[in-house]
Structure formats: structure tokens, C-alpha cells
């Protein structure tokens, strides 16, 4: 087993133990259920001046091999009943991708 396979196996263990089931729909494709590690932390934005706003920064860490194709901007994810679209993808270089999400409603 090569390093890539080892990493993929480790990522699979991480997402199944630490993650949760989410529905992932690629643009023009069908929804699939995968495991992902969701984070929805508070952030303060607009601190540069005036009245800052307390918002959230939702992200989802996934294993690329759980999808038929690499994740892309405008793909949709449903997590905990909320629908998000992918606004940025951060390729981890190890077979994982961190998806930066934005709410659609």
C-alpha cells in the first residue's frame, strides 16, 4: 500500500469517526451521501471600522475519493438541514479538500 492509499484510508477513518453524514450534489449531478467534518464557527467581520457583524464561517472537510469528481465551486451541500453552496475549495494535497460554504437561504 502506497502513501496515497494510506492517507486515503486515514482520511476515511477520520471522516467516519469525527464527521457526519451530509448530502453532496455536484453541479449537474445527483446527490450522494458522504461523511464530512463540518465546522460552523463564529467570526467577527468588518472589524476595520464601524460596526462589526458577528457571522459564521461554515466549512466542510471531505475525502476526495468519496466523490466521483473533485469538488467544485457552486456544488451544493446539505448539512444539518441547511443547504449551502461551495464558494471555494482548498485542496489539502493529501486527498482531502476543505470546502468553504455559503448559505443559500
Amino acid at each position: 500500500m502506497g502513501f496515497t492509499d494510506l492517507m486515503d484510508s486515514a482520511l476515511g477513518a477520520c471522516t467516519s469517526v469525527l464527521g457526519e453524514q451530509v448530502s453532496y450534489t455536484p453541479q449537474g449531478g445527483s446527490a450522494v451521501t458522504i461523511n464530512g467534518i463540518f465546522d460552523n464557527r463564529f467570526i467577527e467581520i468588518g472589524k476595520g471600522g464601524g460596526m462589526p457583524v458577528m457571522s459564521r464561517r461554515p466549512t466542510l472537510g471531505i475525502r476526495n475519493s468519496d466523490l466521483l469528481a473533485l469538488p467544485a465551486i457552486d456544488d451544493q451541500v446539505v448539512v444539518r438541514g441547511t443547504t449551502y453552496k461551495v464558494i471555494e475549495t482548498d485542496d489539502g494535497g493529501d486527498g482531502s479538500t476543505l470546502l468553504i460554504l455559503a448559505r443559500t437561504s
Binding site: N40, I43, E44, I45, G46, G50, M51, P52, V53, M54, S55, R56, R57, P58, Y84, I87, L101, A102, R103, T104, S105
Partner: protein, 139 residues
Amino acid sequence: MTHARTNLRNAVIAALIGSDVAGSRVYSNRSNVVDEASLPAINVVTLPETSTQRDLNSSAYMRKLTLNIELKASDVNDVLVADVVDNFAETIEAAMAADPTFAGMATNVALTGTNFTKEIAGDIPIGVLTLNYQATYFA
């Protein structure tokens, strides 16, 4: 005795609350955070003021106060958020123009500029529209 600038700022805030753009979420020189869920919200910020003595025999000054009305509003649509704040701006401008003297507190309160930015670091885009006014008053 309350400073004329405070009275004027409070009158602007009352007018903006009356315009119902942001309900009662119209603040004065606020630097604390507001929750995204409570947007739209407005912050009335009074910035530097220039003063010119009215005449040599008077202790009164003609003052020109820069008054910024900062509106923050959100929309899930990244493109439409600009339209959302523009619609609110129209209402705010109408409220400010309804009585440019604010019951005689100022000789004039006039719009001098508008600036729009967008904050996209959060889970939905937030439009930030700042309306710059100059208030001329004597005190």
C-alpha cells in the same frame, strides 16, 4: 445641557427609526458587534467637525459636521445584496431629506457622498452602504 451635536445626532437617529429600514436597530457611534441575524442595522457616526467663529463679538461657531450613516444588510444572493442596500438607501435618503434642518437644529443637512462595499467572509454576503452627510449648524 446637551451639546447641539448630540441633539442633532439623536434627531437623525429618530428620523431613521421612523423610516423603519432597520426597526429600532439604529445605533449611535456603535463599535460593539451586531449579530448577522439582526440585520439590517444602521450606525450613525459623527466624524470630525470644523468650526468657524460666527463673528468677533460672538462665542457661537458655525460648525460643519461630517455625519456618516452606515447601513449593513445581508442577502444570500451575492449579486442582489447591492440592490438590497440601494433600496434601503432610497428610504434613508428620503427620511433625511424630509426636513433638512431637523426642526431648526441645523441650517442644512446634505448628502455629500455614498460608498458601497461588500463583506463576504461570513456565511452570507453583507452589503455595507455608507451615506456621507454634512450638517451645518450654529452652536
